[in-house]
């Protein structure tokens, strides 16, 4: 059992750190203010092979494994989690198309996504309780040679900038299990992106509704088999949840390190506050949570790489961080006291960012259901 990254994984992780220092550190504070999509940085991600990290070499990817992927996401998130979100959502789209797409779909989209020429998005959520149910549910009505899509997808990351959407719609409004995945060009007639939402953090990764007003797509737009959208979504979201956990840990680690440095130089009561036990407890618990979560998510990533079932472990990691993720920032902000509340320091941005990576975004049952079901 080896808990260390391999030499290659370490080099990849180092590349991510170096990239973050070079390209993300200079823009991260500004991005939080201007909230402008950082296209130049996304192009650099492509140049350094990050956008195709997880995809096969034949399609222009780097052919690296999932452990490397989460190490990169964590490394980038230490500096700018918004960019990591953009990369992750891009990867969800490119992975889905590579995995389930027809030769035509793969040829049309995958390389362009890898090169950063096209931005991709993954449109699964809706305003109703679960995709396919609710007044605005996206329904794909069969027509001659294709489908007509009508409804709204909610909280789509990369919306508006994306040129291609992987979209999920029910072909039968009475049957949520008829969920089907489609690959849709952003420019099709009837597709409209709603107003960009103001997010608490992760600013720079756009979030908006995508409205489908009788958008016509051909049969060839179906991704995978009709009615197999549930499987596609489940797998991609399970992978994404591990990646999001890496974001959480990256943000948390950055906060722990910043707070530790602050505490060593902030003098109160005649000594650095880092010497005070309550501060030590706050730092220690936050550091411990990051360390253990990292182990959990890397171990889960290894299962993915080994082709083994991993959904339970992914749910565990997600559930753990849903409980503790924000606590890491609540406590590290606490270490910095009044300064930890001032937006002149990075901690407030990290506080706002981390909350966006631990959202449960799930129907009533939560990961606990999946975990318990697998134990019993």
């Amino acid at each position: 059992m080896n808990f260390q990254l391999t030499e290659e994984q370490q080099l990849i992780e180092q590349s991510a750190h170096d990239f973050a220092k070079e390209y993300l550190d200079p823009i991260t504070g500004q991005l939080d203010h201007t909230v402008e999509f950082p296209m130049a940085v996304v192009k650099e991600l492509a140049n350094h092979d990050f956008l195709g990290l997880h995809l096969p070499i034949e399609v222009g990817g780097a052919g690296a494994g999932f452990v490397s992927y989460v190490a990169v996401i964590e490394g980038l998130s230490r500096s700018c989690a918004a960019v990591a979100s953009i990369m992750n959502n891009q990867a969800m789209a490119s992975y889905a198309i590579q995995h389930w797409g027809s030769e035509v779909q793969k040829k049309q989209y995958v390389q362009a996504l890898v090169k950063g020429e096209t931005i991709g998005a993954f449109a699964i959520y809706e305003h109703g309780p679960t995709p396919g149910i609710g007044p605005d549910a996206l329904v794909a009505t069969k027509s001659d040679g294709g489908y007509a899509l009508k409804g709204t997808k909610a909280y789509v990351r990369n919306a508006g900038v994306a040129a291609v959407y992987v979209v999920f719609a029910v072909t039968d409004p009475a049957d949520p299990k008829s969920l089907t995945a489609f690959v849709v060009d952003a420019g099709v007639k009837g597709l409209r992106v709603g107003e960009a939402l103001t997010t608490m953090g992760l600013k720079g990764c756009p979030v908006a509704d995508v409205i489908f007003d009788n958008v016509t797509v051909p049969d060839t737009a179906v991704l995978g088999a009709v009615k197999s959208g549930g499987d596609v979504a489940a797998r991609v979201l399970a992978l994404a949840s591990v990646a999001e956990a890496a974001q959480t840990v990256g943000i948390g680690q950055a906060a722990v390190e910043h707070a530790a440095v602050y505490a060593k130089q902030r003098v109160q009561f005649g000594k650095p506050v880092a010497t005070l036990q309550p501060v030590q407890t706050l730092l220690a618990e936050a550091a411990t949570d990051c360390y253990l979560a990292r182990l959990g998510l890397r171990s889960t990533a290894q299962l993915v790489e080994d082709g083994k079932p991993f959904e339970t472990e992914a749910a565990m990691v997600k559930s753990f961080l849903a409980r503790l993720g924000s606590k890491i920032l609540i406590d590290t902000c606490q270490v910095e006291g009044g300064m930890g509340y001032s937006e002149t320091m990075p901690l407030p941005r990290l506080f706002r960012d981390i909350a966006g990576t631990t959202l449960l975004d799930a129907p009533a049952d939560f990961p606990d259901y999946a975990i318990a079901a697998s134990i019993a």
Partner: protein, 385 residues
């Protein structure tokens, strides 16, 4: 629920209406812009809400502690930022209430009854949790004191007309060398410095105060020279209750918004599953337990018994509950939570664990009380950290 008298219920209802009219419709916009809500001062003046701690004989509303926290909870429910302005406006004059002589009370309270805002200035760049490390000086010079120094993170500092400022009158004496002074806006050399842009309570005004050779009459000294820290601690014991009340309001609001959202998202027969229901139940338990702790604290104060430990407990538990409940709410409300007003509640809640004494300082106060024997009867207020 704490059993309130009819009068208290009416006051609570009036506060609720004030908040619904003035605070709730404007909270999001002022938070987004980070602008100070000057309009609120007019509305507050009209309703006399600032004067709720000022005794009736000085023209104030003279509410007891329990009534005050019931009102302040409504403010917090509306908006942590606007609530902070109002609460700080009340506690800014607590020092005068506690130790001011009659002339000082008349003068100071009149300013507030006329709609002026107050501010309490203890914190400095080098004196945060280590409040005794105050370096602002106050040197006696004839019939005046001359003040020099810098204060930071002062709520209402840019808009107050009267301030209570802690300064060192005797550098050789450590904590016992600190004194408390009333300083009026407009004194030569007294200026407002940089404004801090914050994670939350963004519409609350948080500034540096700069004192350069500020002359104030000796009659502005509160109590005696050297009483400063004692006065500050007594003031904080009162202020902590109001802040705790804001925190309860923020937490209750988060819970209510979360319930509303989930009911709408899972309409009719699609009830949220029991996991979700139990999380809501836990949030309810936390909010109620925090509120009851606070109400007990207020009752202890109203009874005349010492209440430092109780204030610390209330502030610690209410602040922590606000943080826990708001972050749980954001998590449960998913992407909607992340892009809506509930995110503001989470940002606002964070400061409840920090200002008015960090929750670590509160625990120091509580631990000391837990570990030391009970005081003899009639010993008066205990010294806080």
């Amino acid at each position: 629920m704490s059993i309130l008298t009819t009068e208290q219920q009416e006051i609570k209802q009036a506060a609720r209406e004030f908040v619904a009219k003035h605070i709730i419709p404007n909270a999001a916009e002022y938070d987004r812009k980070g602008d100070f809500h000057s309009f609120l001062l007019e509305a507050a003046k009209e309703s006399k809400i600032f004067t709720m701690a000022i005794p009736k004989k000085y023209g104030g509303l003279g509410y007891d502690a329990l009534t005050q926290v019931v009102v302040a909870e409504e403010w917090g429910y509306g908006c942590g930022g606007m609530g902070t302005t109002l609460a700080a406006g009340v506690l800014g004059m607590d020092s005068v209430l506690l130790v001011g002589n009659d002339e000082q009370k008349q003068r100071y309270f009149e300013a507030i009854v006329n709609g002026g805002l107050s501010a309490f200035a203890l914190t400095e760049p080098g004196a945060g949790s280590d409040a005794a490390a105050v370096r602002t000086t106050a040197v006696r010079s004839g019939d005046d004191y001359v003040l020099n120094g810098t204060k930071c993170f002062i709520t209402n500092g840019g808009y107050a007309s009267v301030y209570v400022i802690l300064a060192k009158t005797d550098p050789s004496k450590g904590v016992k060398g600190i004194s408390a002074f009333i300083v009026e806006k407009g004194r030569a050399g007294f200026t407002v410095g940089a404004t801090d842009h914050k994670l939350g309570i963004r519409s609350s005004n948080t500034v540096e105060l700069l004192l350069k050779d500020v002359h104030i009459p000796a009659s502005n000294l509160l109590g005696k020279e050297g009483d400063g820290m004692k006065i500050a601690m007594m003031t904080l014991d009162l202020g902590r209750q109001l802040i705790a009340a804001l925190a309860v309001g923020i937490a209750q609001r988060a819970l209510d918004e979360c319930v509303k959202y989930l009911q709408q998202r899972f309409p009719g027969k699609m009830q949220p599953g029991q996991t979700l229901q139990f999380k809501l139940a836990d949030m309810q338990i936390q909010v109620q337990a925090a509120r009851e702790t606070l109400h007990h604290t207020a009752r202890v104060r109203d009874s005349g018994a010492p209440f430092s430990k109780e204030s610390a407990m209330a502030k610690a538990v209410c602040g922590d509950v606000a943080m826990a409940v708001t972050s749980q709410a954001v998590s449960l409300m998913g992407s909607y939570g992340y892009t809506s007003a509930i995110a503001k509640a989470m940002r606002d809640a964070k400061i409840m664990q920090v200002y008015e004494g960090t929750n670590q300082i509160q625990r120091l106060v509580i631990a000391r009380a837990v570990l030391s024997p009970a005081p003899a009867a009639g010993a008066g207020q205990k010294k806080a950290a």
